[in-house]
């Protein structure tokens, strides 16, 4: 791969750290409306504090990687047939020989678009897939609106805070229940270390809540952004001056203006806090012996050089560093409650010549997620008192702006659609029984044959959920009994959105 190609390929999830905040640029200036009200959330401290990693696939990935159940119909009606590009896409795969022709896996996944890794994770009950995350409220196909409403789990995209911000606000508003509890090992909420972390720079998942009910969060409870390699730009090199004397002068002068220049003042405080901490995080991230021991037959393993077979994150994979960093942080630091991972818009915005690139990208993503699932399931760790601590509270959610049309357009790509998948991994201690190891939702093709606007939609007897239900579910994991109030908007969505029903039965395998 040419260097530029490699660098650009990173953009699919990671090259452009700041892209998520692109969408603060509203079309026209809008007035405030009433977003969900933090104070109305009924909070009951959970038995176990969850840790959620939210991987957002900017651009909006096609759902076909996990849903070829309608491919025959799609192929017959598409402007450009799929089987002209991928000759075996209509065929079931040979489960005894994965190299044989056939792209449809037993559960209807796209074999060469990550389908094999999905099947593996399903078999180990590390994963569930919801195929019918379908937007019926404010059914937009615009990136900005879709991303913000997903990352904020609210239709008031101008005023409401990101999911991470809302979560922090709920916890802070209910700190009396949490302070000194066993959940916090007897500490105060503000004593938690790096509870909210972005691996995508400034993230709309941590957008400030500008609504009337916003909670004034202390700095410790706001999102911190870290480099995926745990690089340390927070440390300063020395100048010719006496550093301590200069800092002492700063401490005399800066506080008077810190509230006026809040964001930069926060940046300096974070810099100071992170400059020493980051070294330890990097050491842990780089230490292969902190990855779990696995059987020698595991396809995601390698000899660690000391004769022990351990899990390895794949090289030459655009998602490895970011997902590994997020999982390592969650594993090593139980205080980290919500992590956002994402990257440059355009990575999944497959409008043209899409199939080859999509297959490669999805395979890489699902392979890394399979490693991450094993990392969580097989890994071990201790709490701050040195006692063993389970890892079954760590959840990874993967979703995007929207799904895409299923018609292969004149540029051999897919234009913006609606119905999409939610991939959700781990967290068995947090979810109801039977929540993992299944594929939920049935779809059908809809739209005129030979036209571009063809897409999948839930069948009338299928379970479906709004994209904002993903955030609602996260809030519920953390103890919010009525998360609808946090996703509600007085003008556009007064009832809010309920949680995803994780007790719904999965679909049977195709073969």
């Amino acid at each position: 791969m040419k260097r530029r190609k490699f660098i650009k390929s990173m953009g699919a999830l990671g090259a452009t750290l700041a892209a998520p905040s692109v969408f603060n640029n509203s079309a026209f200036i809008k007035r405030a409306s009433a977003a969900g009200i933090i104070q109305d959330a009924n909070f009951v401290a959970p038995a176990v504090l969850p840790q959620v990693i939210n991987i957002f696939l900017y651009g909006g990935p096609s759902e076909l990687s996990a849903n070829l159940t309608n491919i025959t119909d799609i192929n017959a009606n598409s402007q450009n047939p799929y089987d002209a590009v991928r000759g075996d896409i209509l065929m079931n795969m040979d489960v005894a020989d994965a190299t044989a022709p056939g792209q449809i896996t037993p559960n209807g996944f796209w074999k060469d678009a990550g389908g094999l890794a999905m099947e593996d994770m399903l078999a180990t009950s590390d994963l569930s897939i919801y195929r019918t995350i379908n937007r019926r409220k404010d059914n937009t196909r615009a990136h900005r609106n879709s991303i913000l409403s997903s990352q904020k789990s609210n239709l008031d995209i101008e005023m409401s805070g990101g999911v991470g911000t809302t979560l922090a606000s709920v916890l802070f508003a209910n700190k009396a229940q949490l302070d000194g509890s066993t959940l916090l090992n007897g500490r105060q909420l503000e004593e938690m270390v790096l509870p909210f972390v972005s691996f995508e720079g400034e993230s709309s998942g941590f957008a400030v809540d500008s609504s009337a009910s916003s909670v004034n969060l202390p700095l410790q409870m706001r999102g911190i952004s870290l480099d995926t390699n745990f690089d340390n730009p927070y440390a300063r090199s020395s100048g010719i001056g006496n550093d301590a004397a200069i800092e002492a002068l700063v401490d005399k002068i800066a506080p008077a203006t810190n509230s006026r220049f809040q964001k930069v003042a926060d940046g300096f405080t974070n810099r100071k806090n992170l400059q020493s901490r980051i070294t330890g995080l990097r050491t842990n991230n780089d230490d292969p012996t902190l990855l779990p021991v696995v059987p020698g037959t595991d396809p995601d393993s390698a000899d660690d050089g000391a004769g022990t077979n351990r899990l390895v994150y794949p090289n030459n994979n655009r998602y490895s560093s970011r997902v590994k960093a997020a999982v390592t942080l969650a594993m090593q630091n139980p205080d980290t409650l919500y992590i956002t991972v994402g990257g440059g818009l355009g990575g999944w915005d497959d409008h043209d010549n899409s199939i080859d690139r999509y297959e490669t990208r999805m395979t890489q993503l699902m392979t890394v997620l399979r490693v991450a699932a094993k990392h969580i399931r097989l890994g071990s760790r201790n709490d701050i008192n040195g006692n063993p601590l389970a890892t079954d509270n760590i959840i990874i959610n993967v979703h995007g702006d929207f799904g895409r049309n299923v018609n292969l357009n004149g540029s051999m790509g897919w234009d913006h659609g609606n119905n999409q998948n939610l991939f959700t991994i781990g967290g068995s201690a947090i979810r109801p029984a039977g929540a993992l190891g299944k594929v939920v939702g049935k779809t059908e093709r809809f739209g005129d044959s030979g036209q571009n606007r063809q897409f999948t939609r839930p069948t009338t007897d299928s379970y479906e959920a709004e994209p904002m239900s993903i955030g609602s579910t996260v809030y519920s994991y953390f103890g919010v009994q009525n998360p609808e109030v946090l996703t509600a908007d007085a003008d556009m969505n007064p009832a809010g959105d309920s949680i995803i029903d994780e007790t719904v039965a999965g679909e049977p395998a195709l073969f």
């Binding site: 452009t16 892209a19 079309a27 200036i29 952004s225 090199s237 800066a254 818009l345 010549n353 051999m412």
Partner: protein
Amino acid sequence: MHNIKPLALILLTSAFLWGCTADTPSGNSSNAVKSYSGELTKSEYDALTNEQKYQVANKLLGTMFKGVPVDEFFDISNGMDNKTLKSGANLLFDTKRALATDLTQANVIENDLIITDPDDDDNNSLFRLNFNDNSDDATWPKQLPLSRIYQYPLSKDTLDNWIAYVLANTILFSPAEEIDSTTVRDVQKVFDKLREDLRANKTVSQIISRHQRTQENWRRFRSPEDNTREMIEIYLGLFDRDADVPRASIACKNLYLTDENAGYELISNGFANTEPQYVLDTFVTTCGDFYDVVANHPLVMPRVTTSIVEYFFFTKTGEERAEIVAGILSDSPTTFQDIFVSILFNKDYLLNNERPKSVEETFYSLSHQMDWRPYRDVLEDMTSDLDELSLKQMGWPIMSLKLGRFTGVPLDSLSFANYHKGVREKLILGSTDSSCNDEDSNRSCRWSTGLGVNPSEADLTVPLADDATDQAKVMRQYEVNRMAKIEERTDRVTGLSLDDYIDYVFMTGLQRNASDIEKTDLITMYTTANYLVDDDGVMVIRDGRHDEMAQIALDYMTRLPEFYYYMKAN
């Protein structure tokens, strides 16, 4: 670039005969100097204190990535307490007139030769742009606009370059270098076409109409449905016209982008649509019809103005921004220059708008205020992916994001840490080597010379060789002019008292005098470091210590949040 040199000598000879230099615009002011609603008036400016006037200058010029040294804005020969206005006396009029004045062709060529050395024959051009790099990784197409904005004197040329740079970084015209179907050549094309359009004073509608049809735009939005949807959203701000998109895409159905192997070319299959489609409340048949409807739609100017206002007023409330947009639109602007100049001179912007500065605004404005001659690779560092000065690492990549830079400077902990580190370590802290060739050895190029505290050791009296190139001659003249100015400044600055010198450095870095606490603590640090000496009961600065003292003071300033803000004048 290579074809400019044969012309250069003739034109430069003429230019020198006319007595102009690279520092001053010398062309005709054929563009009208307009007035705008809500602009800061001369009487309002005159009523400000001297410090406020310098803050206004810093904001006005810094927004355009320019700046004026304290010693040029003020006459400091009688000390900082008794400073009087020099160039600052007519800041508003002089700046507006300059922005309406085209550079002569000779002046453009002269400045281009100062900026770049096309043959890289070690003539020490201001920057080192590798025009021979034709790879997809080339960064010179990003460096060239930045270099021209840096070096060109304040003029319509500078204004047009800056506007094109800002626009190409917004959602309106980003070349989207981050995505697979684009390369840095799309960056080059988008920027150059924008700049040429602006040079020709084309209207907003003309520019949008032209841009929509380009291959660069199709490489960004790559199918008929994607392309038409985004044009409606980006240029009209309509996010709820999903039903129009399939019909608009039929109008563009003959166009497609080839695949990677065929070079992502925009091709028509030759079968243009013939059936009228109802789009945006009118009928269009061809893609050209659709693009014209968008470009001439009544929502274009409100939408474009709103986008630009949000870029510069991102800390204001929606209602406040709406008022500013309404004010601009009340002047019936037709060009991007109308919108940008209206904002630049807007009273609310200059006096009341408090916001974080972008990296370019901080870096460039301070560089100019210190009259810094940068190290030659500074732009390579800024445009790289990984250097400490990389704007990408600061969450602020150049002409890269598919939907443009976000509204508001990224100040998350990672982006700001890189921002602070880059500015502090690459601009403020210096090394002690003696060449200008790279960032590790840039002593003679450090800001201390421009600031007037560290006289240059360069001997500019040594004659050039008989066969010296045009570029070498231009650079020699540039250095001679620069050093003549700086030598006079050095006399004034090194003649300042200790108190006044500290104020001078603070005025340069923060546009204010040092407080008593700051002076006391800094003087303690200077005393401990033995930079001061008692002269009959008066502490004075030891010879040769001004540089270190400024370094410490500026290091301190970079640690203050206010350093990263354009502030309200009051």
